[in-house]
């Protein structure tokens, strides 16, 4: 480009547009600012006590007795882990099956009925799920398997049900995003539909499906109200599926109402741990999801 090249000139209207652009830029940063403020506050309120108490004893201590200033988070960390893993074990097979059936094995009409139902169920409040757990599932567990009924098992089942819509809808999107030519090519080679699914479609949609699983995991870890209602909330490492359990989220929700001073800070610290876990999960999910989008191109 020669040195005589000119740039376009500014006019009054363009200056107005620049103002609008600036105003919208400020607005656009609202989400980021809120995120920052949340991080700052939670971390600000929670980290001092973590270090004062000692990070190691905070994370690995097995006794949570706020009245005696004992803040061992280990039972809750394990609790969240068990409950989440349980939810995944139940939710993923059912959810994936549903997704596969919806995209590959059902007619358009059937799909148009089932899909809205699933989307509707994504909107049901968590407290209703929890309530159903209390009223139906917990007594059932108590009578059939023994124990108090309020247990890891109950929480895992209910959470598994709750994350089904997430896993199903994202996996359906991932499967539908596989180019039709993959299916056609495989059928043309004489494969059955299931073989096509198993060997072509599932690998092709892998990133999206993994993203759905991770997002489901995130939702399971973050769930509070339903878990409080059915998990028993004993701050002890559960010994079996039938023992009561407390998760990180319920820990916060249960005691926040009356906590003060160090106790309250300890709850914020619980929030920090939860926050970190969720952030890591989300980043991983986003990376896999963008790899899915990138691979499409």
């Amino acid at each position: 480009m020669d040195g005589t090249a000119k740039k376009r000139s500014g006019t009054r209207l363009e200056r107005n547009d620049r103002l609008v652009r600036l105003a919208l830029l400020v607005v656009a940063f609202s989400a980021v600012s809120v995120l920052l403020v949340i991080t700052v506050f939670i971390v600000g309120q929670g980290t001092p006590i973590m270090f004062r108490y000692g990070l190691k004893s905070f994370l690995t201590g097995t006794r949570w007795y706020p009245s005696e200033n004992l803040f061992g988070l280990w039972p809750m960390i394990v609790g969240s882990l068990y409950v989440t893993v349980g939810a995944m074990v139940l939710g993923v097979p059912f959810g994936l099956s549903c997704a596969i059936v919806l995209t590959e094995f059902s007619s358009k009409r059937l799909r148009s009925i089932i899909k809205p139902v699933i989307e509707l169920l994504a909107g049901i409040p968590s407290v209703v799920y929890g309530f159903m757990g209390v009223v139906i599932l917990v007594p059932f567990i108590r009578e059939t398997f023994g124990g108090p009924g309020l247990s890891v098992l109950a929480a895992a089942i209910i959470l598994g049900i709750m994350i089904l819509p997430t896993i199903i809808s994202i996996s359906v999107d991932a499967l539908q995003a596989v180019p039709p030519t993959y299916r056609e090519g495989s059928i043309a080679l004489g494969a059955t539909k299931w073989q096509t699914v198993k060997m072509v479609l599932l690998p092709a949609a892998r990133s999206g499906i993994i993203a759905s699983i991770i997002l489901g995991m995130g939702r399971a870890i973050g769930e509070t109200m339903a878990v409080i209602m059915i998990a028993g909330n004993a701050a002890k490492v559960p010994g079996s599926l039938l023992d009561p359990v407390r998760t990180l989220t319920s820990n916060i929700a249960l005691e926040m109402g009356y906590a003060a001073g160090e106790h309250r800070q300890a709850l914020f610290a619980t929030g920090v741990i939860l926050f970190i876990i969720i952030m890591v999960l989300n980043t991983v999910a986003n990376v896999t999801a963008s790899r899915m989008k990138g691979a499409k191109k």
Binding site: L13, V27, A28, A31, I124, G130, W194
Partner: protein
């Protein structure tokens, strides 16, 4: 031993369909169960009278009002912010570090569990800013919870407006702002409204964030500084404390019917607007 592919497919199909049927049945059962137990508790009085005796008697009118006000407040705050962000991302800038940061912020916000929002709302709005347990605190907290959804759906809606519309507007002498407000946003409105309605559905069912910011007072709210109890919080308290099972079911039924209505409204709007513009 080679498995006959057709037999394998038949077997797998049976398994998949069974699992799917179980899934759908469970999900449908939940709705049916709540509605069956809850609809008998519904009556005109139930919907229009305030709770009496901690909720053992009376109706749920104050909670309905609280839910509506809280949700309306959240939308009033989040919609301009969300749509504005979406407009900025699509119309006023190009892909680069800035947009990536903004999107990252929105994505992260979307993944934060509601209890953390509750904590945040409690420490910032209720305590530090001294709003107390109030509709104001609750609306602000809810607004930031639904912000990512509104940003995402608005962005999609705006992106799907054909680029030629913008070119045509410019060639007729429209300024950027006129193009955005007179052509792009009106065309994207159905998608934007859908996103808002979805967020309404989500706000209605939200409990953890609300209980720590708007409180749980049973009185009818008188100002944005009043504490108030929404339907989902009311339901939670009724159920957990065992105050009144019939009323609990009734509240749950109202909640589910409201969400059902909202979902149906969304489908109706989407279909109508797709027909109008294609």
């Amino acid at each position: 031993m080679r498995i006959n592919p057709r037999a394998e497919q038949a077997f797998v199909r049976a398994v998949l369909w069974t699992l799917t049927a179980i899934t759908v049945l469970i999900l449908v059962y939940i709705i049916v169960f709540v509605l069956r137990k809850g609809i008998p508790a519904l009556s005109w009085d139930f919907l229009t009278k305030n709770p009496v005796d901690m909720g053992k008697g009376g109706g749920i009118f104050s909670t309905i009002v609280a839910t509506i006000v809280l949700t309306a407040g959240a939308i009033l705050i989040a919609a301009p912010l969300g749509v504005g962000t979406a407009i900025y991302l699509t119309e006023y800038t190009w892909e680069g570090p800035v947009t990536r940061i903004i999107r990252f912020g929105a994505e992260c916000l979307a993944g934060i569990p509601s209890i953390i929002f509750g904590l945040f709302g409690f420490i910032l709005f209720v305590t530090k800013l001294r709003f107390g347990w109030s509709i104001l605190s609750g609306s602000l907290t809810l607004a930031f919870m639904i912000l990512p959804t509104i940003i995402r759906t608005s962005e999609e809606a705006i992106k799907s407006v054909p680029p030629v519309y913008r070119t045509v507007s410019f060639s007729l002498g429209g300024t950027k702002w006129q193009t955005v407000t007179r052509v792009v946003v009106p065309s994207a409105l159905p998608g934007i409204v859908t996103g808002v309605i979805l967020s309404v559905g989500r706000s209605i069912g939200e409990t953890a964030a609300v209980i720590f910011t708007a409180g749980s007072a049973l009185r009818l709210p008188t100002s944005i500084f009043s504490s108030s109890r929404t339907m989902s919080v009311h339901f939670y308290i009724l159920a957990r404390e065992g105050i009144s099972m019939p009323n609990a079911y009734g509240t749950a039924a109202v909640l589910i019917i409201a969400i059902l209505a909202i979902n149906l409204l969304t489908y109706y709007l989407m279909n109508r607007f797709i027909k109008k513009y294609s």
